[in-house]
Structures are given as structure tokens and as C-alpha cells.
């Protein structure tokens, strides 16, 4: 239970941080923000790594592989398209 309260604390505080920071992003950058946030949501990769790292049966091996591959695609693709988009923004 103690641990859960600590987790909740981090969750609540991060929500506040997220709210404050993201309301400051100008409309100009809303599309890259959307895709950048999506890339960050690929953090589930960390969870899939832990799962895939303890392979046992054939079924779990396949599931683990798929999970890691999909999460990696989310992360790599997400950061890459955001990067491509932001490269286009420049001053005169």
C-alpha cells in the first residue's frame, strides 16, 4: 500500500506538470506535440522488455517478441516522424 501511495503521488504530480507545460505549447506546434506525446507513450516498451526477458514457453516467446516489436515501432516511428516534422519549422 505504501508503494501505491508513492505511485499515486508521482502520478498526480506528473498530471499537474503535464497540464501546466502542455497548455503553454502554441497552436503552431500542436501536430508535432501530438506525435511527440505519442512517441513518449511508447514507454510501455520498458514493460514489454521485462516481460519478454523471461521467456518460457513458445507462446509467451511469440507474444513477447510481438509486444517488443510493436512497442519499438511506436517509439522509433513516433520520434522519427516528430523529428521530420520539426525539421521543417524554421525562421526566415
Amino acid at each position: 500500500m505504501e508503494e501505491s501511495v508513492a505511485a499515486l503521488t508521482a502520478f498526480v504530480l506528473a498530471l499537474f506538470v503535464g497540464y501546466e507545460v502542455i497548455t503553454k505549447v502554441p497552436p503552431l506546434l500542436h501536430t508535432p506535440l501530438m506525435s511527440g506525446a505519442n512517441a513518449i507513450s511508447g514507454i510501455t516498451l520498458v514493460g514489454t522488455l521485462i516481460t519478454a526477458g523471461m521467456k518460457l514457453t513458445l507462446l509467451t516467446t511469440i507474444l513477447g517478441f510481438l509486444a517488443v516489436a510493436m512497442a519499438t515501432a511506436n517509439v522509433v516511428g513516433g520520434f522519427l516522424i516528430t523529428h521530420r516534422m520539426l525539421q521543417k519549422f524554421h525562421r526566415k
Partner: protein, 466 residues
């Protein structure tokens, strides 16, 4: 590594994510901000790989390579105009990944002969991951298919759809209950995955293509919350913090879009908007022989005689891919000493910031892109406004209080205050909101009926020949 050190490094990764989002608040720093975010992710992954819990690396390495290749190739080859659907695909993959990972944990627990029960934490999180993950996966793919034109983007309204969806949702709840209360095999989990997957399709199908960005943003919000919940199970701060950041981002972007469209989220999700066609009678009353049309040559003369020109891009520019022509037009006019600026409405196009990305792609510097509040007081001093494929965002009907007007109360660009307005579109047909636009019949308005790209190129040719 000691658990404390691992957690400290996860915290560092989370701080990098926060810094990354903070750097997104300015176009000068945004690009580096994205790299900072990627660095945070790299740190989190490396820390995880060094953590004691991982015993076998083959599957991981194979997955990392396969996923990286797929992600990189898709992201690298996609055109800038396909950004919304790309975000949807990647988001869907992320949601699916967490569902599968939890499924693997579950199968492993059951395959272990010694263990006959599953902890409450695991079964709870498995139910949550299955629900959110599968809905995100299939919902995002439907959104992708609609935007990519693979399936009809109009709302598909099944008869009794609310009933079917209600029944499916009840089934999902029952399956979750089974999974949590008597977890004796993984069957409940996979059934739940299947039901949620179907639900994801059925929920998104009746939403019009133009509302897809809202859906994508909402699914993004879900996947953030799901990541945070997953982090709670693993007791991992990086997941918790990153997840809630993403949840907040998705929520805020969704709210901004609904607010700028002046519609509630419920209306977007359940009203099946986008099927209504404007009554012909109504538009006859508005336009009734008062619409003046013009030619590219005349437009070129007007533009080159102006001192101050403002371009208002809209969804039609995106459809026609006219942004490159617009860039050349801007250059040509500037050569002749005309001051050219761009007025960007917050919901012009079909996703937040849509126009900015396209114009930036065409090489137009972002300091020429003015936000609505900044440029609205200046329209009185503008000689010519060139509206390219925009409609709702310049519709003066929005200023009325009439609740039957779907966009009533939405702030618009006050282009009607400029000396003259040239509107480029293919016909008098309405925009996303499906209502006629009195601007087209205004005294100072001239219609240039053509595809946006063709019209811009024709004006350019006329300018060169002058």
C-alpha cells in the same frame, strides 16, 4: 544495478520527458526537445536491459530490430500530409503491445505448474490492459483506414448501433469480472481482447473522417493512462510519469479541438456528424445571384496591386496539396514588394496545427504564420485576403447566437473586414460544418472556382506574364 539506482535512472528518464515537452513550447527549441525525449527513452530502455530481471536477450533483440526497422521505414517514407494517420498507427501499435505483454505475463503464470493463482494486481492490470490496449489498437487502425481513404470516411451508422455497443461493453465488463475474480486460465483474457477489439472498431466506425483527429487524440490520452497503470503494476516511475504526461497532453489537445469546433466530446463521439448536407433551399437564399466570380488573371492583378496580402489556408489547401504553390506565390509577391502574411485559425484543416506543418513543409518561415488573436485586429489594414480552401473558419454565421448553426460561437478569422477577399474553392459546396457561407456573397468578395493547386499555379503564371 541496485534497485535504488535503477529507480533513480528511471526518474532521470522521466525528467528528460518533462524537459522534452517544455522545449516543445517554442519552435526554436522543439526539434532539440524531441531529441531530448528520445534520449530519455534510450536511457529508460538501457536501464531496463541492465536490470537484473532480464535473463534472456534473444527475443528482445529480435523484437527491437524488427520494430525499429518497421517504425523507421514507415516514418521515413510517409508524406507530411499523412501525419494524422501515422500517429494513429503508431499509437495503436503501442496500445496493442501493452495488451500482448500483459497477456504473455498471464500465460507464463498459468504455464508455471507450481503457481495456481494469480495476484489481484496482475489480474486487475491484465483486464485494464486488454480493454484499453485492444480498443486503442483496433480503433486507431480504423481511424488510419478512414484517413488514408482505405475505407469510406463518412460515418457508418449501423442500425441499433447504440444497442450493439452497449451489449458489447456489458460483455467486456463481465469478462473483466471473470478475469479478476476467478483467474484460472487465460481464456477470459483472450476473450476480453477479442470483445474489446470489436468494440474499438464499432465505436470509431460511426465517426466521420473529419472528426478522426479528435478520436486519435483521445486514444493517445488513453494509451498514456494505460502506460501509467502499467507502471503502477511494475512499480516503475518512468512509466507512471511518462504515462500521465501523455494522458494530460492527449486530454488537453482533445479539449482544445472540441472547444475550437464548439462541440462537446459526446457530440463528436456519438452524433455521427458529417452526414448532413446543406439544404439547397437555404444556400439559395444566402447566395441568390449575389456571388461574383473572378479569374486567375484578375486575381493576379489585384494581388500585385496590393501592399498588404494575407493568405488564409484551410482544409482545401491540404487536399489539393497546394502549399508548395502557395510558397512560390508568396516569393513572387514579395519580390514585387507586397507584404505577405498567413492567418492560421486554430482548427483550420483537420488536426490541430495542421496548416502550420504543411506550410512549414513548403518552406514558409514560421514567423509569417500569425495566430487568430494576433491577426484579427489587423484585417482592416489588409488590401487583399486570399482564402485557399478554407470555409468554416471564415464563416461570419459563427458570430450569430443562433443555436441551429453548428459553428455558432466559434471564433473566426475576420477576413470580411479587409478591402477585398478572393476565395479559392471548387464550388459553392459547404465545408465541414455543412452550412452555407454568407462571405461568398459579400460585396467585397470574389470567388475563384478551381482546384486550389491549379488556381495558385494559374495566378502565378499570370503574375509572371504581367
Amino acid at each position: 544495478m541496485s534497485p535504488a539506482l535503477v529507480n533513480l535512472l528511471y526518474l532521470a528518464a522521466a525528467v528528460l520527458f518533462i524537459v522534452s515537452l517544455k522545449m516543445m513550447t517554442h519552435p526554436r527549441t522543439a526539434s532539440n526537445g524531441n531529441l531530448v525525449g528520445a534520449l530519455g527513452m534510450l536511457l529508460a530502455v538501457v536501464v531496463t536491459l541492465f536490470d537484473k530481471r532480464i535473463v534472456s536477450f534473444e527475443v528482445i533483440i529480435a523484437g527491437l530490430i524488427a520494430g525499429s526497422l518497421f517504425g523507421a521505414v514507415v516514418a521515413w517514407r510517409a508524406p507530411m500530409t499523412a501525419m494524422p494517420q501515422l500517429v494513429a498507427v503508431f499509437n495503436g501499435l503501442g496500445g496493442g503491445a501493452s495488451a500482448l505483454a500483459v497477456g504473455a505475463s498471464l500465460e507464463e503464470t498459468f504455464s508455471n505448474a507450481a503457481v495456481k493463482t494469480v495476484s489481484l494486481q496482475l489480474s486487475l492490470s491484465a483486464a485494464a490492459a486488454a480493454l484499453v490496449g485492444a480498443v486503442t489498437l483496433t480503433g486507431s487502425f480504423v481511424a488510419y483506414a478512414k484517413l488514408q481513404g482505405l475505407i469510406d470516411e463518412r460515418p457508418v451508422l449501423l442500425p441499433a448501433r447504440h444497442l450493439i455497443n452497449g451489449a458489447l461493453a456489458a460483455g467486456c465488463v463481465a469478462l473483466s469480472y471473470w478475469l479478476v475474480v476467478s483467474p484460472d486460465s487465460a481464456l477470459a483474457f483472450w476473450l476480453l481482447i477479442a470483445a474489446s477489439g470489436v468494440l474499438g472498431v464499432l465505436v470509431v466506425i460511426p465517426i466521420g473522417g473529419a472528426d478522426m483527429p479528435v478520436v486519435i487524440s483521445l486514444l493517445n490520452c488513453y494509451s498514456g493512462i494505460a502506460a501509467a497503470a502499467y507502471g503502477w503494476v511494475l512499480n516503475n516511475n518512468a512509466l507512471i510519469i511518462a504515462g500521465s504526461l501523455v494522458g494530460a497532453a492527449g486530454f488537453i489537445l482533445t479539449a482544445i479541438m472540441s472547444k475550437a469546433m464548439n462541440r462537446s466530446l459526446t457530440n463528436i463521439m456519438f452524433a455521427g456528424l458529417g452526414t448532413v448536407a446543406a439544404g439547397a433551399a437555404e444556400s439559395d437564399k444566402v447566395y441568390a445571384g449575389r456571388v461574383k466570380s473572378t479569374s486567375p488573371d484578375e486575381a493576379a492583378i489585384l494581388l500585385s496591386a496590393a501592399r498588404k496580402v494575407v493568405v488564409v489556408p484551410g482544409y482545401g489547401m491540404a487536399v489539393a496539396q497546394a502549399q508548395f504553390g502557395v510558397h512560390d506565390l508568396m516569393k513572387k509577391l514579395e519580390e514585387r514588394g507586397v507584404d505577405v502574411q498567413f492567418a492560421i485559425h486554430p482548427v483550420a484543416g483537420r488536426m490541430p496545427g495542421h496548416m502550420n506543418v504543411l506550410l512549414a513543409d513548403a518552406g514558409i518561415p514560421y514567423d509569417k504564420l500569425k495566430e487568430m488573436d494576433e491577426i484579427n485586429p489587423m484585417f482592416r489594414q489588409v488590401d487583399v485576403v486570399l482564402v485557399i480552401g478554407a470555409n468554416d473558419v471564415v464563416n461570419p454565421l459563427a458570430r450569430q447566437n443562433d443555436p441551429s448553426v453548428p459553428i455558432a460561437g466559434m471564433p473566426i478569422l475576420d477576413v470580411d473586414q479587409a478591402r477585398s477577399v478572393i476565395i479559392v474553392k471548387r464550388s459553392l459546396s459547404p465545408g465541414f460544418a455543412g452550412i452555407p457561407n454568407p462571405l461568398f456573397a459579400a460585396d467585397n468578395a470574389l470567388m475563384l472556382f478551381a482546384d486550389a493547386n491549379k488556381a495558385v499555379l494559374d495566378i502565378l503564371t499570370a503574375l509572371k506574364e504581367q
